[in-house]
């Protein structure tokens, strides 16, 4: 199976082939086989890993995703509309009302999302 890497190797490459191609062989130590098999048997005897608790986590994940979707669908357009309104008519009073209502909606959404996240994290820690 031994063959040169190139059709016409340089003398330096031939020297490298001779130097690196053959090495003194290491013989495994007497306990190597036993050590490997001990670890393998240990692994084989170990109980199967606990499955990820998807069922317990799913409601929290779905809830958080729903809130995020709701916030992006309703909160963001409200905010954009309010900003646009304030730019169009610099009537600070009206714009302020829009902005404050949007901001509170967003704040509520963010708060609920955070709460959902905390619940999921807690469930995960328990699992």
């Amino acid at each position: 199976m031994t063959r040169p890497a190139e059709p016409h190797p340089q003398p330096a490459d031939q020297a490298l082939d001779q130097m690196l191609g053959v090495e003194a062989a290491l013989v495994p130590t007497s306990g190597f086989l036993a050590a490997v098999m001990d670890r393998v048997r240990e692994e084989a005897a170990a109980p199967a890993p606990i499955a990820f608790p998807w069922k317990r986590i799913l409601p929290g994940v779905v809830g958080a995703a729903g809130i995020l979707i709701w916030a992006s669908l309703h909160g963001l357009p409200l905010l954009v509309a309010a900003v646009r309104e304030s730019l169009r008519a610099p009537n600070a009073g009206v714009a302020q009302i829009h902005l404050s209502s949007s901001a509170s909606a967003l704040g509520l959404a963010a708060g609920v999302a955070l709460l959902s996240w905390m619940i999921v994290a807690r469930i995960l820690r328990r699992a």
Binding site: A12, D13, A15, E23, A25, L26
Partner: protein
């Protein structure tokens, strides 16, 4: 673990396939046959990566444990040895990235004996050792092709399969690695091949 598809003929002709089938069927002790058969190559391969005997055995042990865990993922199209060597190379590479073996930069690898002493056997041994140390000092992308090319007895295809890279890429990296070594050791070009001492014997003979 679920049993992979294989024919009776394949089981008869390929001892590894047969052993793996037994292990996957739940016979844990059959894995010992695999360890017995491949322990020397895996330790010697690890040795070429780190040049530390103790660490080589640790790495090889970890490779066998990983092989045990992933035995069912061996797709039977390739030889078992190809799968095992690729798994081991992957592990050795990542472990040596996490905890690098102590090496000096290529340009700081100690100079071997002077040219006037080249005919001296001891000086040749020193050059030999310096070159091997210099291989460890090569950047990983060049070091690994060199390590595996010589481990696989200069078989480009097999080394490329172990590294899971095209043979052309391996050849290019090998060529660049040799260029770096030639530049570091210009005296290599002046050596008579016969003067290079033969090593004791090939690692794969220990199987």
């Amino acid at each position: 673990m679920s049993s992979p598809p294989y024919t009776a003929a394949q089981l008869e002709t390929d001892p590894d396939r047969m052993t793996v089938a037994r292990v996957l069927a739940g016979e844990v002790d059959a894995f010992e046959l695999i360890v017995r058969r491949w322990q020397a190559p895996l330790i010697n391969m690890a040795w070429r990566y780190c040049r530390d005997r103790h660490r080589a055995e640790e790495l090889a042990q970890e490779a066998f444990v990983r092989a045990w865990r992933g035995l069912a993922s061996w797709r039977q199209e390739a030889a078992f040895s190809t799968w095992l060597f690729a798994l081991a190379a992957n592990l050795y590479r990542s472990e040596l990235k996490r905890f690098p073996t102590v090496t000096v930069p290529l340009e700081e690898v100690p100079e071997p004996a002077s040219g006037a002493q080249q005919h001296d056997g001891l000086a040749m041994e020193q050059l030999n050792e310096s070159v091997r140390r210099a291989v460890l000092a090569l950047p990983l992308r060049y070091r690994e092709p060199v390590v595996l090319f010589y481990f696989h007895e200069m078989d480009v295809e097999q080394a490329a399969r172990t590294l899971r890279m095209p043979a052309g890429t391996l050849k290019a990296r090998l060529s660049r690695a040799r260029e770096l070594l030639r530049r570091r050791f210009p005296q290599l070009g002046r050596l008579q091949p016969a003067l290079v001492p033969e090593a004791v014997h090939n690692p794969l003979e220990a199987q």
